[in-house]
């Protein structure tokens, strides 16, 4: 009898205390602080300026999110492989870290709708007379060996049956070769292309257009069971686009054609 009562009492306490806990959205607002995981060696999305302060597209997105929540933003630097562990161990509340929304990752964390997309862009030497992806047919092209776009470009050159593909070891080598005219064009992510063209280190090159390779969509992420917060993140991404903030930041950090964040013929 005694033990039964004790168990009952225990169950009663458990029942009474459980619903009292708030969800993550409440926690963030009441703590007055939003901790974002950001990768800071991935310009223009995240890097450090001359004074060692974090800057970049992802940093501004974190600040915008904190402002919307009415709290203070705290940037937690995380290298690429550390992003998800940082969330799982409770060091950050949300990842604003150019994270591709793969199904594999979604088993572990909850992904928002895409907030940014890395499109593949064609960068050409100004003297090569290339103004679109198709113009590369029959030309000498190059990319970083073994990367997604490098493999796709090589396959494309083989399909065309003319021209030549040259793999280089680093992105810098590719742009050096391009600027010297060793190769006529290259394919890279649009952010890399714009950053290198803008940097002024490589003269005589410009972004010629989009390459029809798969777009790499990236999403914000948080704990997968935090539906309240995920819902907030989705709306935040939507609002950023609606208010023109997305376009503004894209122009500031990347420039050129704004990538579409939706996929035709399907929801989300």
């Amino acid at each position: 009898m005694r033990t039964k009562l004790f168990v009952l009492a225990l169950a009663a306490t458990a029942f009474l205390t459980a619903p009292a806990s708030a969800d993550k959205l409440d926690d963030i607002i009441s703590s007055g602080k939003l901790r974002c995981a950001v990768v800071l060696d991935f310009p223009p999305m995240g890097s450090r300026d001359a004074d060692n302060n974090p800057v970049g597209f992802d940093v501004d997105y974190c600040n915008d999110l904190a402002k919307a929540l009415g709290v203070e933003a705290e940037i937690v630097e995380t290298p690429f492989p550390e992003r998800i562990p940082a969330l799982m161990s409770g060091r950050v509340d949300v990842g604003v870290a150019s994270t591709s929304d793969t199904l594999e990752r979604a088993k572990t964390v909850g992904m928002s709708i895409p907030y940014f997309a890395f499109e593949m862009a064609v960068t050409a030497n100004d003297e090569a007379g290339i103004s679109s992806f198709e113009d590369m047919k029959g030309k000498v092209v190059g990319a970083v060996a073994g990367t997604f776009e490098g493999i796709a470009l090589e396959a494309q050159v083989n399909e065309w049956g003319e021209g030549e593909y040259r793999p280089y070891q680093t992105q810098a080598d590719v742009f050096l070769a391009l600027s010297q005219g060793q190769i006529d064009a290259t394919v890279s992510t649009s952010t890399v292309a714009q950053a290198n063209v803008k940097s002024g280190k490589f003269s005589g090159i410009s972004v010629a257009g989009k390459a029809p390779f798969d777009t790499d969509y990236v999403a914000l992420f948080t704990n997968r069971e935090e539906y309240g917060f995920l819902n907030y993140l989705n709306l935040f991404v939507n609002q950023q686009v609606r208010t023109g903030r997305y376009a503004e930041l894209y122009e500031k950090y990347v420039g050129g054609d704004l990538p579409e964040l939706t996929v035709p013929n399907v929801y989300r």
């Binding site: 080598d173 050096l176 010297q180 060793q182």
Partner: protein, 207 residues
């Protein structure tokens, strides 16, 4: 596998061509250094100094990107060939210099006293002996040339053994398998070259 063997052929082709060019330049340099003409000597010495005291990777890189910045565009193939030939020429001239020292001066003088011109005595008396002494070190350099071709991947070479291996690796991520096969092929080529050279040497230089 057939792709790798095709790559091995390209590797061998570059190595052989670079050796032929290197040999030609090295003989020329030996003459330059013997000629006593200051400018020619200085040119040969500075080439040899650079070729022997900088990494081959750097030399190939310079042939591609270095010349590229002056608007001279070499294809990866040509840049690789030029880089290795440059390197070979430097090392081979040093081999020849050593070999030349092994042949007493008196032989040239003897030739001259028989009424030969200086060039004749070099060509008919000194050079054959010099080549004999320098032959085995030359095969070493040949092996080196084969192995150096693998540096072509840095300048966008994708048809030689190393380039093909890397491309296959990028596509399949079966790194260990492909690199192991490539290593075995390199080993076999190098071994064939050394053994072949021994055979030729034993035939050619019989007393």
């Amino acid at each position: 596998m057939p792709q790798l063997l095709e790559g091995a052929l390209v590797t061998l082709e570059i190595a052989v061509l670079s050796m032929v060019i290197g040999l030609f330049i090295a003989v020329l340099f030996t003459l330059f250094r013997l000629s006593g003409i200051r400018v020619l000597n200085a040119f040969a010495v500075s080439w040899i100094e650079i070729a022997r005291n900088t990494p081959a990777l750097f030399q190939i890189y310079m042939a591609h990107f270095g010349l590229g910045s002056f608007g001279i565009h070499l294809s990866p193939y040509a840049a690789l060939l030029a880089g290795i030939a440059f390197n070979n020429a430097g090392y081979l001239s040093e081999n020849f210099r050593g070999a030349l020292k092994a042949i007493p001066d008196t032989q040239t003088r003897a030739g001259r006293s028989l009424g030969m011109t200086w060039l004749q005595s070099f060509r008919l008396i000194v050079m054959p002996q010099m080549l004999r002494v320098a032959f085995l070190p030359m095969t070493n350099q040949m092996v080196w040339a084969i192995l150096m071709t693998s540096l072509g991947v840095t300048v966008g070479m994708n048809t030689d053994l190393a380039g093909i291996t890397q491309a296959l690796n990028a596509r399949s991520f079966r790194t260990f398998e492909f690199f192991a096969i490539a290593a075995v092929i390199y080993y076999i080529i190098a071994k064939i070259v050394t053994l072949g050279a021994r055979l030729i040497a034993s035939r050619m230089f019989r007393y």
